[in-house]
Assembly symmetry: C2
Amino acid sequence: MSKKIYKPKPTSGFPEWLPEQRAVELKWLDIIRAKFESYGFCSIETSAVEKVETLLAKGGDADKEIYSLKRLHDIGQEETSKVALHYDLTVPLARYIAINGNNLTFPFKRYQIQKCWRGERPQEGRFREFCQCDIDVLDQESVSVEYDAELPKIIYEIIEQLEVGPVNIHINNRKVLEGFYQGLGIEDITSVISIVDKIDKLGIDMVGKMLSSELSLPKEVVSKCLELATIKTFDNSFLSKIRSLGVESETLNSGLEELSLVLERLSDIPEGVVIIDLSIARGFDYYTGTVYEGKLANYPDYPTIFAGGRYENLVGSFTNKRIPGVGISIGITRIISKLFKENAVKLGPKCPTTVLVAQLPGLESKASRFVAHKLRSRGYNVEVFHDNAKLNKQIKYADKKGIPYVWFPSINNDSHEVKNLKTGEQIRTSVMTWLPDESMI
Amino acid sequence: MSKKIYKPKPTSGFPEWLPEQRAVELKWLDIIRAKFESYGFCSIETSAVEKVETLLAKGGDADKEIYSLKRLHDIGQEETSKVALHYDLTVPLARYIAINGNNLTFPFKRYQIQKCWRGERPQEGRFREFCQCDIDVLDQESVSVEYDAELPKIIYEIIEQLEVGPVNIHINNRKVLEGFYQGLGIEDITSVISIVDKIDKLGIDMVGKMLSSELSLPKEVVSKCLELATIKTFDNSFLSKIRSLGVESETLNSGLEELSLVLERLSDIPEGVVIIDLSIARGFDYYTGTVYEGKLANYPDYPTIFAGGRYENLVGSFTNKRIPGVGISIGITRIISKLFKENAVKLGPKCPTTVLVAQLPGLESKASRFVAHKLRSRGYNVEVFHDNAKLNKQIKYADKKGIPYVWFPSINNDSHEVKNLKTGEQIRTSVMTWLPDESMI
């Protein structure tokens, strides 16, 4: 019978890592989880799918990026054809709270580390499948502004531990924008925000033209909008700069107060990281207060690596209760794929093994398994070589996998030997007393 | 503007957990990962989707359970309409190795903990989305039979640590079945295996009738098949029982040798757990040697909680190289959902917080944040209460979330106080010396 071979190829936009890359990702995810938990956030997971109605209930233009599901051999419209993969973790969180709210204690602080899917055309930093690490606080009626400051602090501590290089955290407040535009007498505030939000991509001149031509705003109003959008400060000088534009409104005052508090709370972060950036709006129409965007400072053209903000009505569309929240999402796939591409991260080991126990000629395999068992019970990661091949071959296997130690068992408790493959040093030892060099594991 | 409310409901077959349930799942996943790594297995993840061709290349009747993906607003057949969610982690592993084989070191020992999806009708123990924990060893040309024994040992150690109650590990070897049927002169061995595999569901009599009527096997052959299928032993007495049936073949001998070795290697496991069970075949046509099925002994009618076996040609359909393997997959969603339903597992805490730092009247919030920072740097999970509500309310919050300690900060380093909410005891302490009761965290 001739063998039929189907040669598979990687699927574009669905990244996969080799074990030594995955080891880095896993270490990162451990750091992120530990940090989230150290601030008291609990883990939840939501199903990969949502009802299409749930996803569409959030509006926006997300619908065209949604992957819907269909059983391969379904004929007609089954129930399952009405579910789709989630494209973020925020809408699923809102839906989860709408369903489980009565069993949760508020403020509800949760983290969620899961894959998301979008039917986008893949390009640098944009994937069809990607891992997001989300952290949100939701509360009944109102969420303390303290969380607006706590979240970027947590994210900064994580980013620092991940050693991804310098980052910038751009922070703004939608109330400042809305209040400012109100003060200018602008009626269609949403349109102004969505146009000004493109200032990074289109530049000041083009945005100015669009504000004039599309919204028919007077020249002096456009000018004020552009002046506001170009304010970027590391300290609270943004306050006097905005005040000097001579625009007043209650919403503006409230926004500036929140922005000042957030900046003050982040004063421990080294100067130059946090930028009060009045050009940041975040496209999503559900943000209502503080908004965040994080960038890798070394790659300014690379897309945002984390983002988020405060929202008042997200859960509101699913329930009668008022449950506002604030959250940030880290795009871990986006960060790690860039660092892999730039060779800017040290790869991990090909396997977690610290000791390979060899099988020696003339010694029962039981002896090797016994050593492995004892070392494992002492907390080490240990493999037994799978047959009694020549020692050369066994050592070569350890070397190729980056296993630092090869153990040569003995029937005499005190005459085991261990070879350090990095230094070549071989010592006599015993299973209960041996200690590896800390730098090797 | 009247608010339009869309009330979401859970989606059948896509289980979700409350935080206190998720805490158990997370603990389990940590145990599983640590055990896999302690035996030197590396982590990989594959994309949630595979090309439909890849999934179908494995044959079987899996196709009708496959969820394919479609962009919601796609018209016509785009590339993305030809991908589907994976229904297990074995086919994706084979495809991953076909693509990445040149960058891997063999024997390749990997674990993989991911969601899988099947378009099945949900019922007890059967979900549309479920988490599988897979462990496999693959090697070029041949895989050492030592791994056939190592894998169920690893799984048993995990199951023991998870405290899911007593389990049974049913083990058989497809070579024994095939060799026995060969020795009986049966030609259509695959059909016999697939009929005998149903003995648990249909009973001996029905299986006997099917072997006679559907395959026209002579009465004495059917009788031998049924005698073989009913052999179940805790020790190596299966050898004499099979021999006494008087059937001979080389394949049978080879299978019995492997089965004996596996049983011998598992002799550390308490008696009664491992069952050599000649009725087990595993439906999948890719198994060629050792096969495993795990059951919760307390719930004999509940489906298999882990399963696997040895396969020779799985990767072979994707590449010219011969890369056989052996693996086991634990159905973690299946186990945990049953234990939740039976109230047979202690739920975890609602949040990971050990200490809630209160905000005291007359004291700046900075003082509370400072305490939290110091305690976090000592490795504790700490929340600061988010406003200066009445102390009663702050303590009630900790109590509702199951946070064991409430901290009352002071501007004097040595006059902080901590209340143990379980005992009611309140002591004076300092941020650098305080130690929680080990049983409380």
